[in-house]
């Protein structure tokens, strides 16, 4: 869509701007900006198996981001994907542990069900607080992230702790091989299949159902859909639940795929990156697929940076933060430059 193309160009411009700002910061801090850019490009696109490395991060990010798209479209600023992701993984890990020994054909679907339910439940309470009492969901979901982080520490050091060896690990027992849906490289037909399925289902939900249109209208103007007779309550709750379930699904995939065990504090920035992806994508599902791939590449490059360019890990945090700072910016200049791709009417 031409409108979306404009949005993507804008996003790309501001990402480049953010990277340039980082380059300046790094030069000041005594690192080579050129090296940084070189390593980013190298790590994201050029090195051996770059595609596979990028996909490993892109797939779960995409799934979580589609959930974020659903709730943002409906007008709810659920930034709790991180917590929902953790709780999903925790629930799935519990099921996998309890059913240890049963065949994979039984356990795997149950794990998925548990993971999605867990994620949905972790989105349910902020949803209820928001819809019933008007409690701001930005804060409640943010606090939910902190709480889920503590919960993860608790279960990995407590009920789910791996007792093997000296028992010093803050992680669960490794999953039985039969329950794994990918090797540790995190890319497998199953995961790709799930991602495609989720993408199609959410695309359908957004673009081909009454829910999609109504939640989009309601997200932009809740009063209007209320006057049309919509139950904002139902749509809102569904949006929270769906986005939570998808984050939980991503957590389950991380658990049963690349990680193979529940570890304390894994992927601490996952939810935040998913929010960025949803915004860069202009809240569209196809856009999210593209953006997820881009951020997946960035994530894999980020792990490459400290090795190749010797940049400290804080450098990667700075890169991500600058992108966040600028990603939603709008500028006349950029708009004028991308005007050719946009539609003739003005939307003020």
């Amino acid at each position: 869509m031409s409108g979306q193309l404009g949005a993507i160009i804008r996003a790309v411009v501001f990402i480049l701007l953010a990277l340039a700002a980082c380059g300046v910061i790094f030069e000041f801090a005594g690192y080579s900006a050129f090296q940084m850019f070189h390593s980013i490009v190298d790590g994201a696109f050029l090195r051996r198996n770059a595609l596979e490395h990028a996909l490993r991060w892109a797939l779960p990010l995409f799934i979580t981001a589609t959930g974020v798209v659903i709730s943002f479209r409906a007008g709810y600023f659920n930034i709790g994907a991180q917590g929902q992701f953790y709780v999903g993984a925790i629930c799935a890990a519990f099921v996998a542990e309890w059913l240890r020994g049963y065949p994979g054909g039984v356990v795997i679907p149950l794990c998925f069900a548990a993971g999605m339910t867990g994620g949905a439940l972790w989105a349910l309470w902020p949803g209820l607080l928001r819809l019933r009492s008007g409690a701001d969901e930005v804060i409640t979901t943010l606090m939910g992230n902190f709480l889920a982080g503590l919960l993860l520490v608790y279960v990995t050091a407590g009920p789910l702790k791996d007792p093997s060896g000296s028992g010093q690990q803050a992680s669960s027992r490794p999953l039985e091989a039969a329950y794994r849906i990918s090797t540790s490289n995190g890319v497998s037909p199953t995961i790709i299949g799930i991602a495609i399925l989720v993408g199609l289902a959410m695309w359908w939900l957004v673009n081909r159902t009454a829910f999609g249109v109504l939640s989009g209208l309601g997200g932009r103007n809740p009063t209007m859909v209320q006057w049309q007779g919509a139950s904002t309550w139902k749509i809102g709750l569904a949006s929270f639940l769906i986005s939570g379930a998808l984050a939980g699904l991503a957590g389950t995939i991380e658990l049963m795929g690349p990680n193979g065990r529940l570890a304390g504090g894994f992927l601490p920035a996952h939810g935040f990156t998913a929010v960025l992806i949803a915004l860069v994508a202009g809240l569209s599902i196809t856009g999210a697929a593209i953006a997820a791939f881009f951020f997946g590449g960035l994530a894999s490059a980020a792990l490459y940076l400290p090795v190749m360019a010797g940049l400290p890990s804080a450098a990667i945090d700075i890169v991500n933060a600058s992108i966040a700072l600028f990603i939603t910016a709008r500028s006349r200049l950029v708009d004028t430059l991308t005007k050719a791709w946009r539609r003739p009417w003005k939307t003020s």
Binding site: Q35, H38, D42, R47, R48, H53, R56, L150, V153, Y154, T156, A157, G158, K161, S164, G165, S166, G167, Q168, Q169, A170, S171, P174, S184, E254, P258, N259, G260, R261, A263, G264, G265, F266, L267, P268, A269, S300, L303, Y304, P306, V307, M308, A309, G310, P312, S313
Partner: protein, 318 residues
């Protein structure tokens, strides 16, 4: 590309706790630098805060042709098992880990019985505490820290069955303000000896001890002595840096036995319960005298542990 230019190859440390703890991580990084300079190696210290990324980082290092990769704690065991066989030319060292079953020829694991040091600290605390109330402040309640607390408690109770030992956690290894808050509350509860186990959070605990007389802290690194000349009475030292230096030197120089496990700790100088020399000079003379008095008992217990006559339980749950 930059890496390939290094003459002697690349040596990398992947640390899973943040730097800046004035303790194990900082000392490992310092020793890594020292070793790299001595041997003309390129070095990298990489903070991997996220278990999901360990394997990717190790693979990246393997792909980059690293000569030696050092990492820490049991949580890197699975990634090591997955990655090390694919990079036979790289030597992998896991500090603070269990032996691999079966062993991998290019991996060396090193384990430490740090909790034994905490046991000794417990005996010491039991003897010198006036109130019979001992505290323990950890970063996060994870199994190794839980084991340290349990050993501390066992040590205290072995010499003073009526004493109480209380644990609290700051929720972060990087929150000195919270550490100070917890320690202040503990001290005002009558606790007069706190064993820390919380990296950068320790700074706050020592600061709290400095605020009043009769408050004593046992920390974990000699670098911390100067922070509390009148309050930091002892440390349960674990010289990760030295251990890293020793193992990595072997790997670089070639007298390396792959596929082996090294258990080191008490008795080898890597783990040591020791009194702060600064405190001995500047601390409350009564307390200095008292600590000298009980030192014989500590030495005895240490000998007992080493000859097996004292058995310290290892328990990773609270």
């Amino acid at each position: 590309a930059a890496v390939a230019h290094a003459q002697g190859g690349l040596i990398a440390l992947v640390h899973t706790q943040a730097a800046g703890d004035a303790g194990p991580v900082d000392s490992m990084i310092a020793k890594l630098k020292q070793l790299a300079e001595e041997k003309g190696l390129e070095h990298r210290a990489i903070y991997a805060q996220d278990p999901a990324t360990y394997e990717t980082i190790f693979r990246t290092l393997g792909d980059a042709g690293a000569a030696v990769v050092v990492s820490t704690f049991n949580e890197v065991a699975e990634p090591f098992k997955a990655v090390a066989p694919s990079y036979p030319d790289t030597k992998w060292i896991q500090l603070f880990g269990d032996p691999f079953e079966p062993a991998i020829p290019n991996v060396v694991t090193v384990s430490y019985d740090y909790y034994l040091g905490c046991y000794l600290s417990g005996i010491f605390a039991g003897r010198i505490s006036k109130t019979g109330k001992i505290g323990f402040i950890g970063g996060i309640s994870i199994p190794p820290l839980n084991a340290d607390f349990n050993a501390l408690k066992a040590g205290v109770l072995s010499v003073r069955p009526d004493a109480t030992v209380t644990a609290a956690f700051a929720g972060s290894f990087q929150d000195p303000a919270k550490g100070q808050e917890i320690a202040t509350q503990m001290f005002s509860d009558g606790i007069d000896y706190i064993q820390t186990d919380a990296a950068a959070t320790d700074f706050g605990i020592i600061a709290a001890a400095n605020e009043g007389p009769g408050r004593y802290v046992s920390a974990l690194d000699p670098a911390q002595f100067k922070l509390g000349p009148k309050s930091l009475i002892s440390i349960v030292g674990l010289d990760f840096g030295v251990s890293l230096y020793n193992e990595a030197t072997k790997a670089v120089d070639g007298d390396w036995t792959g596929g082996s496990h090294v258990n080191t700790g008490l008795g080898t100088g890597v783990i040591e319960f020791m009194l702060s020399p600064l405190f001995q000079d500047e601390g409350d003379p009564d307390m200095v005298a008292r600590s000298k008095e009980v030192w014989a008992e500590i030495e005895k217990a240490k000998a007992g542990i080493l000859d097996g006559s004292i058995e310290v339980p290892f328990n990773t749950t609270l």
